[in-house]
Amino acid sequence: MPHIEESRTRKRNREQILQTAYEMIAERGLFILSISDLARQARLTRRTVYNYYETFRELLADLHPLVIKHFTDECEHWLEKTGTDRIFKPESGGPLYSLFSAMNAVMHDDPQMLRYLVRLDHFLAANPDLLERSLHPAPYIVQHGGIREALRELCDEARAEELALMAAESFIAYTERITFRRGAFSQAGMPRAADFHEYLSIMINGILQEARG
């Protein structure tokens, strides 16, 4: 929870609002979310909710960093638990491999988080100014994933940035299409997407070749 000095009741209400918003975004997305719906779901009055957040922008500015923090903690935890090496080895794709594997595993284990992130991503496409750009999924991955830094050993800075951003966008596209929609797609009898690692090895292989020139 954000570090704000406030009474216990206010703190509880704020937590209640943020938790409800998180669940509702995961469930329905932001397009159809209103403060009234949020208040009803959180069992608070509209006036009370407005007391804490007047706009969704303010609400997301508190909520999203919390979700991201939780997500990255879970990823770190997964890396520790599986003993996946984070040290950069160009041949093996180093951070690309470990970061995306961790993210993929965590999202599989926590479908609500996957839903939240995908829904948020869809909404940001239409409303990019809602969140500070550094908190958008792809730039965030580039900023904190170590991919760009790793690629910098193979190519210049601008190229590393470009390739890192492309890797992040591609990972998100893959996740949305294949992990998130798996239900809908398998229902359609579509050829089952090959394993995540197949995608990852193709992508990493390609990116390393591009980085080397």
Binding site: F180, A188, G189, P191, M203, G206, E210
Partner: protein, 197 residues
């Protein structure tokens, strides 16, 4: 648009009206997205009464689903790609040609499909669209045999293109502006694929 694929038992008059309703709804969806469009708005855009509209469709989502089938059929990813991937063709050139065609000449269709996919990400309005896909894929399965890695790259490729369209939103999407980036992504995917298999 050819409504045959939707398998209605309409007389010619009814079919013409259905087509008119679908066209009106398509324009509304493209302009506003799926969620804000109501049956009332569709009726009014099509110049029919609500009662007439309900004779054709029970709800908005079913209209969107019919439009999705028509749009996917029109864009025809499957044949388009297959035509470009004849034996001996260059994979990079084939994918670039595919992307160019979709993003230059079928941008509205790509937009509609993207809006539909995002809005109905969890489940489709009925089993009509998944059944259509299943039909389409079962024909495809019989006709060509491809390695699973290839299916993966095609899926990722399409997802990536759709993502570009999504991020551009409703602002004009200038293919020429994105071509260099699309070429980089295409090359990466192709090099990765060829290096892996």
């Amino acid at each position: 648009m050819n409504l045959e694929i939707l398998k209605y038992d309409d007389s010619r008059t009814l079919a013409a009206k259905r087509l008119h309703i679908l066209n009106s709804a398509y324009r509304l969806f493209l302009e506003k997205g799926i969620d804000p469009v109501t049956m009332v708005a569709i009726a009014s855009a099509a110049g029919v009464t609500r009662r007439t509209l309900y004779n054709y469709y029970e709800n908005r989502d079913l209209i969107a689903e019919d439009l999705q089938i028509l749009t996917v059929e029109k864009v025809n990813w499957f044949d388009r790609l297959r035509n470009r991937l004849s034996p001996g063709s260059d994979l990079f050139e084939a994918l670039m040609g595919f992307a160019r065609e979709l993003l230059k000449f079928h941008l509205d269709e790509m937009r509609f499909i993207t809006k539909f996919d995002n809005y109905f990400a969890d489940s489709y309005p009925s089993d009509k669209f998944p059944r259509y896909l299943a039909d389409r894929f079962s024909t495809l399965d019989r006709e060509i045999e491809v390695p699973s890695a290839f299916v993966t790259i095609i899926q990722v490729y399409l997802a990536y293109l759709q993502r570009l369209v999504m991020i551009a939103g409703d602002s004009a999407f200038d293919y020429a502006e994105h071509e260099e980036h699309i070429a980089l992504f295409t090359r990466t995917i192709v090099r990765g694929f060829e290096g892996t298999t």
